[in-house]
């Protein structure tokens, strides 16, 4: 399975990954429309971690044994059979936040967009752009601080 590889030393903290992730997950998939009219209804699923001059973009690490799946009470969090990616079925998710409680990378977040009682109340995470050849964050990184590569499964840990 292909994974997103982070190259911290190349990241300049421009946050274009966040911008394009948001656009990719918007309804219009149009950068102007997404930011003008959909800003309150869609969230980026990648986040730039920053401390002084150092930064890197972080999204779901696609763990080999995902603790989010283990903790999910609704069955929403699962491994997609076709792409192999760990994804959240938003139609099943009830927003209990168990996955948020256990993700060590902090790469799942509450999606409460839409506002009020009728708004969303679900977990939001990277879906590797649903089987796209190259995820939007990788494709739009100007500095190759993110790459999409076939990485062998982790060796057993200590």
């Amino acid at each position: 399975m292909k994974r997103i590889v982070i190259h911290e030393e190349h990241c300049i903290g421009c946050r274009l990954c966040e911008v394009h992730c948001l656009v990719q997950h918007s309804r219009s998939r149009d950068i102007i429309k997404a930011f003008r009219t959909e800003r309150d209804t869609v969230l980026p699923r990648v986040h730039v971690e920053e401390s002084g001059p150092i930064s890197f973009a972080l999204q779901c690490r696609q763990c080999v044994e995902p603790v989010c799946i283990e903790a999910c009470i609704s069955g929403a969090m699962h491994r997609d059979e076709i792409t192999g990616a760990v994804v959240c079925d938003e139609a099943k998710c009830v927003g209990c936040w168990m996955c948020i409680m256990v993700c060590p990378a902090g790469s799942i977040q509450q999606n409460m967009t839409g506002g009020g009682a009728s708004g969303r109340h679900i977990a939001s995470k990277c879906d590797l752009c649903y089987g796209a050849e190259v995820p939007a964050c990788v494709a739009n990184c100007p500095n190759e601080a993110l790459t999409y590569e076939e990485v062998p499964e982790a060796a057993p840990q200590e």
Partner: protein, 440 residues
């Protein structure tokens, strides 16, 4: 696979037979893990309940009316078929015979096994009160309970419920019934709600939310008598003599492990069934996992029951893999839970409510905004955290707790609104970022 190592499976002349007693989180964890590596074992899942695999924690969302019944399904209807499992539903195991390697069910069926997993979970704690056997009194742990409560509330147009228990289950029942528009009185024996997982401040915040929503929160009190008329509930009498008229009474105290079968079979049982790091009981070939098992808790550094869904699933997976010859070691669990009251979430992980004495406590509170953060450190390591309101970074803390990371010097970062992985020790950050075998 993480934490795994293949070992030689002894050559068996016959297909190994695996019997799993229970049909919930633990059973699913076991089945999914064993089928990852083994397609040949003959697997039977036996359950006292008549239903397909459903999610117990989702029951509160169902009771609240947030989801329809189909969404209670934790796995698809084809789960058994796809995993080549024979389900035996609506038939309780009444006897385990460790010598004959068999289990017997209430209907008289006997199943032989080479490996047995006891995943029987727990039963609701119902104190022996006079007058309980009337219409309107329910436990809240099974699908049948939720169905019965809903049917009764609809039929009788219930208006006022008394919920016994201010722990996780009691609070979830309260929040759910509140969403159904009922008036609620919640009775808790302890001086605070959610006392097992929250500290005084967080508990008060959650309690205030309930009170603001109109819930009557009665602390240091309990129900001593149940009143009824013509076989139907009319009210309760409290320890302090007060009487409350009500038409629904829900027990949300908690669960007691279903360890009776194991005890009768001669297995070692304390509170729950005693298991090792591979979920093996004191008897060769018999495993136990989930709410019924006393497994390793890595924060308190001892074996105990931690009755939560993720532990059940993971322990089940450990047992499942082990039963088909994969030597997998369970890293241990951590007590943790999430609860949401009137839209404000709270998360507690590990010893978040440990006293200041003997610990370093970092806290930040904005009660008006319903935001609170409490971190407990021991010897430079995070051993617990409580978050109210802003919970989006909870997992980062949980990771630090699970991996016993030395965070001395990072105290400021811990309290930061959005804790950055970059402020954590380098080695650990790399571990998290490369956790799945990715090089930075």
């Amino acid at each position: 696979m993480e934490n795994t190592r293949s070992v030689q499976t002894p050559a068996l002349d016959q297909t190994p037979r695996i019997v799993i007693v229970g049909n919930s989180a633990t059973a699913v964890g076991a089945v999914e893990a064993l089928r990852k590596v083994d397609q040949s074992a003959e697997v039977t899942v036996i359950s006292a309940e008549p239903h397909m695999i459903y999610s117990r924690p989702m029951l509160s969302h169902y009771l609240a009316g947030e989801i329809e019944r189909p969404r209670l399904a934790y796995r698809g209807a084809d789960f058994y078929a796809r995993h080549n499992v024979r389900p035996v539903l609506d038939d309780a195991v009444v006897r385990i015979d460790p010598q004959a390697h068999s289990v017997t069910t209430a209907s008289g069926q006997t199943f032989g096994w080479d490996k047995l997993l006891i995943a029987t979970g727990g039963s609701p704690i119902i104190p022996p009160l006079p007058g309980l056997d009337v219409e309107g009194v329910y436990a809240f742990t099974r699908l049948d309970d939720a169905l019965a409560i809903l049917e009764y509330a609809r039929k009788r147009e219930a208006r006022h419920a008394v919920v016994i228990g201010g722990g996780m289950i009691g609070i979830k029942a309260t929040d759910a019934l509140l969403k159904r528009g009922l008036r609620i009185s919640m009775v808790e024996l302890a001086p605070a709600i959610l006392a097992r997982s929250l500290d005084e401040v967080a508990s008060r915040m959650m309690s205030n939310l309930l009170v603001d929503a109109g819930v009557e929160v009665l602390l240091e009190n309990t129900v001593t008598e149940v009143r009824s008329s013509e076989g139907r509930l009319t009210g309760v009498v409290l320890r302090d003599g007060r009487q409350i008229a009500c038409d629904l009474l829900v027990f949300g105290i908690g669960v007691r492990p279903n360890a009776g079968l194991a005890r009768e079979a001669g297995l070692k049982v304390n509170q729950g069934i005693v298991v090792d790091h591979a979920m093996r009981t004191s008897h060769e070939g018999i495993y136990a996992a989930g709410d019924v098992a006393e497994a390793y808790d890595l924060v308190v550094d001892m074996n105990r029951i931690v009755a939560i869904w993720p532990n059940a699933y993971r322990q089940g997976a450990t047992a499942g893999a082990h039963m088909v010859g994969v030597e997998r070691v369970d890293p241990g669990g951590v007590a943790m839970n999430t609860v949401e009251v009137c839209g404000v979430p709270a998360i507690s992980v590990g010893n978040g409510n440990a006293p200041e004495e003997g610990h370093q406590v970092l806290a930040e509170c904005d009660e008006r905004a319903h935001r609170y953060k409490r971190m407990v450190l021991r010897d430079g390591r995070l051993v617990g955290v409580i978050l109210v309101g802003d919970i989006n970074r909870a997992g980062v803390y949980t990771g630090l707790i699970r991996n016993r990371i030395d965070v001395s010097g990072c105290e400021d970062a811990l309290l930061n609104e959005r804790i950055s992985l970059l402020s954590l020790p380098d080695q650990y950050r790399k571990h998290v970022v490369t956790g799945a075998g990715i090089e930075v």
